[in-house]
Amino acid sequence: MNLKARKYFFISFAIILSIILIARLAQLQIVEQKEYGKESQKNSIKKIVETPARGLIIDRTGKVLVDNKPSYTLTITPYNFDKSLLEEVANLADEDPDYIKELLSRMKGTNRFNPVKIKHDIDFKTIAYIEENRDRLKGVSYQVESLRYYPIKFKGSHMFGYIAEITEKQLDDQEGTYYKQGDLVGSTGLERYYENNLKGEKGSKLILVDVNGREVGPYNDGLNDIKAQNGSDLHLSIDADLQEYAEKCLGKRRGAIIAVDTRTGEVLCFVSKPDFDLSIFSGIPDSKEISKLLNDESKPLFNRVIQTKYPPGSTWKMMMSMAGLASGKITTTSTIACGGSFQFGNRTFEDHGAYGNINVSRAIEVSANVFFYKLSLMIGIDNYHDYAKMFGFGSRTGIDLPSETNGLLPSQQYFDKVYGANKWSQGTLVSLGIGQGELGVSPVQMVAYVSAMSMSGLYNTPHFVRKIVNPITKEEQVLQFAQRKIDFPQKYYDAIRKGMYLVVNGTGTAKNIKSSEYTLAGKTGTAQNPNGNNHSWFVGFAPYEDPRIAVCVLGENAGWGNQFAAPIAAAIMIRYLSGNTIDAYNENSTIKVHD
């Protein structure tokens, strides 16, 4: 090989290597440019999700009942998180390192640039520590979130409900992909029922990040950012003052109160006791407090207004009266002999007195059991079931809360199924006539029924929300709830209403609550409880002449003493009608109410 050949050999070698480089560059920069361009965008642009503030909950007077407050959430971005920091972060969050590891491992397979929420509601000291050690604590940061805050003097636990971190099951079951791990979602009450209105729409911000995930500025001057849309506000029919008063009235007793506007079905107050402090659930869910709630034998998480299924006792008698009248078995003037007890087969059914031949209004006034024993047998199970169904029993009222019970309204099929066809005695009907036995009603069903009775058959769906208002556009969405007319002759309603009037204003079982200012009407009841003291009921409405409020009070295990339910109901009605000024309820009242 001469020198010239060597020269060309060497140059050729250099040419070949240069061509290889340029060819490879062309492959990357022309053929695969699109792919790498996308990759480059993904690489340097970080999407930050902005969580909107939840909608507020506001009462009928415009008072904010459920508000938001800012809070800080500790996050870890798996992409640049150094595992050796685990111990330190666990300390910082006051959590078990294994718990954090588990949270992070749950995120496997998703975008490693997305921060994982580790702990809600961290304090300023922790934030300061993160800020000071920013360079060292790679991948550790915090987000501002808004948490629920309750600027009220009452609890409203079961009505508002709480929000909690979304569960894995909820994540799996959701339609679409809106919710992400760590999101807060309405779990119970109105928070859950109106979750879609309250939650708002998440926004997103695209930011440019450097290799350490540090923000270096907005992407494309923020033109691609989507602003978070705050949730819509719920305007409730609740009267904060009445609600506070009602909660006070029930005190430490177990029970339920619900009052509605008879003309619309709007809920005015809603109490279930025992209750709990909603703030336990906002911020750091205090697991100790929560397990205490879950294990409490008095079941504070149970919503007694919409979830109990107790027999209504004598408060059922208006229902029976209507069934009797409507089925034509009795008239408003026909009488039934009430001798003090009733013999059916070999069983004797007792009454608290002998009233002679009485009509339906009188029967309600004195709560004559024999009248309704006999009436029940006269109308039969089918009428019993069908008329009660018209007044909303045996099915949900449709109140705007989740987890409402259907209650239990027996029918021929029901008994056939439970006891076998023809194996059950008509004697079952006798107890059912006075609202005992296999009959389960909830206070919300009761208040809707009483309201309908007071309004001559206008049955309103009880509901909380009057309108939903978008906080930005101020656009109002007025909700429509079902309203129907249970069409029976006016005189039937008049006879029943008269009975209820006499209960308070005649010689009836609640004459102790007679008021000089407002004409109250109602009916007491005692539900026999095989497991303990009887439950005390009162349903009523006022004013008698032009009803505006219907109320139902349930005192769990409050015993015979309708001294419990009736005075509370009266106090609430009076306070409402008088414009929330009269404190009519005396907790230590010793007035005995005869059932």
Binding site: I22, L25, S40, I45, L208, V211
Partner: protein, 410 residues
């Protein structure tokens, strides 16, 4: 006059060099633009680019005999510096290869490159008569020249520069007139070692080709068998040596073939630099507009990974331009070597050409995922005073060779 000037002065290589130095300054400015520290790097590079230019011109005017005369002294000096830096040096990025003098880091290993090439050239062609490159002993002795600095640099944990020290001996022997057979004997074990590492089948095919070639060279049977044995053992031992490498080095090698295997570890730079260059497209994202560069996705991108920034912000036009200009420099170095009647200087130029080619191919190759991540700079462009001055001094010597191309030995 014009012709006489051009006859004495290789204007092409000078312009190419200046272009690359300027490109370097511009790129370093962009690569450090978003930084809080190192924002004055481009200024330093510019100042030393001018200093380097002056040194280059001075060197080009020196009497050529000086280079051969002082070759060994320079070589011994550079060895001493390499030992000193091992004892007193400062460790940066795991490499103990820096002296700090008045705020400037100096890497003796960079100067060792040029000193070793001079010494090797002087060894092969010491005076009027060159040594016979085809004697086995000549090659073995020559190897000692490069093994000493290479070993010292390896002790500094600077694998990249160690490999650089091994890249020019074969081309220089090739230029000195080594026979194709010996060239074959030297290169084939290396090729087979790489083949064996990649794929056993490729290795067996390679052995077969070596066997056939040996048959056609028609050398003594003993020598042929010996070479075959060397080839076989090179192929089989490569796995043993691979296993002896530090894990991070193994990872770097695997990352070339499968960067996704560890996207945040060793494959990180490869993926990020490929993304940077690939996303640049034909025309690039524009100066200071490269998101990967400006967002610092590649660590120390003003040194070894400077080519990413060029690929991203200037696109294929810029990246291709760099490769072509480097090719022109290499082409001119070979041409000067060819035209020079001074064999010592010609060998020096060949050594420099090999060095430029090796640096270019490895450095650019690693940023586009063709070569392992070996920390060597892109000549004249990457930030680094020692490296810049060394490469400019090389061009100076080449200019000197061009100026004195008609002198035999003086």
């Amino acid at each position: 006059m014009q012709n006489k000037f051009l006859d004495k002065f290789d204007i092409t290589i000078v312009i190419a060099t200046i272009l690359m130095v300027m490109m370097g300054v511009v790129s370093i400015f962009s690569a450090t633009y978003a930084n809080t520290s190192g924002t004055d790097f481009y200024l330093k590079q510019m100042i030393f680019g001018i200093v380097g230019f002056v040194i280059m011109i001075i060197i080009s005017f020196l009497p050529p005999k000086y280079f051969s005369k002082f070759a060994y002294s320079l070589y011994i000096l550079s060895i001493l510096l390499l030992i000193l830096v091992l004892v007193f040096g400062k460790t940066i990025n795991g490499n103990k290869s820096w002296f700090y003098v008045g705020g400037f880091g100096i890497q003796p290993s960079e100067f060792a490159k040029i000193a070793t090439i001079l010494a090797l050239a002087n060894f092969i062609s010491p005076g009027e008569e060159s040594r016979d490159p085809n004697k086995l002993f000549t090659f073995v002795k020559a190897c000692i020249f490069i093994v000493i600095p290479a070993a010292l640099i390896k002790l500094e944990h600077d694998t990249g520069t160690t490999l650089v020290m091994l890249c020019f001996i074969v081309p220089m022997f090739f230029w000195a007139g080594i026979s194709p057979f010996w060239l074959f004997a030297i290169i084939s074990p290396l090729v087979l070692a790489v083949l064996s590492f990649l794929n056993p089948t490729a290795f067996y095919i390679g052995i077969f080709v070596v066997g056939i070639s040996l048959f056609f060279f028609k050398k003594k049977i003993l020598i042929s068998v010996l070479i075959l044995v060397i080839n076989l053992s090179a192929g089989f031992s490569v796995h043993y040596f691979y296993s002896k490498l530090a894990t991070y080095q193994q990872n770097r090698i695997t990352a070339v073939f499968d960067p996704a295997s560890d996207p945040l570890g060793s494959g990180y730079n490869v993926i990020q630099s490929k993304v940077a260059i690939g996303s640049g497209g034909i025309t690039g994202k524009g100066y200071l507009q490269g998101s990967q560069t400006q967002l610092k996705f590649i660590p120390e991108q003003w040194t070894d990974f400077i080519f990413c920034m060029i690929g991203e912000e200037f696109g294929l036009m810029g990246a291709g331009f760099i490769v072509i200009v480097f090719f022109i420099i290499i082409y001119r170095l070979i041409s000067i070597a060819y035209s020079s009647k001074n064999k010592f200087l010609a060998l020096c130029c060949i050594g420099f050409a090999s060095l430029f080619l090796f640096h270019l191919f490895i450095n650019v190759g690693m940023t586009i995922g063709m070569m392992p991540v070996i920390g060597i700079p892109l000549p004249l462009v990457s930030y680094g005073v020692s490296s810049l001055l060394t490469f400019m001094a090389m061009i100076g010597i080449a200019l000197n060779a061009y100026r004195h191309k008609n002198l035999y030995i003086t």
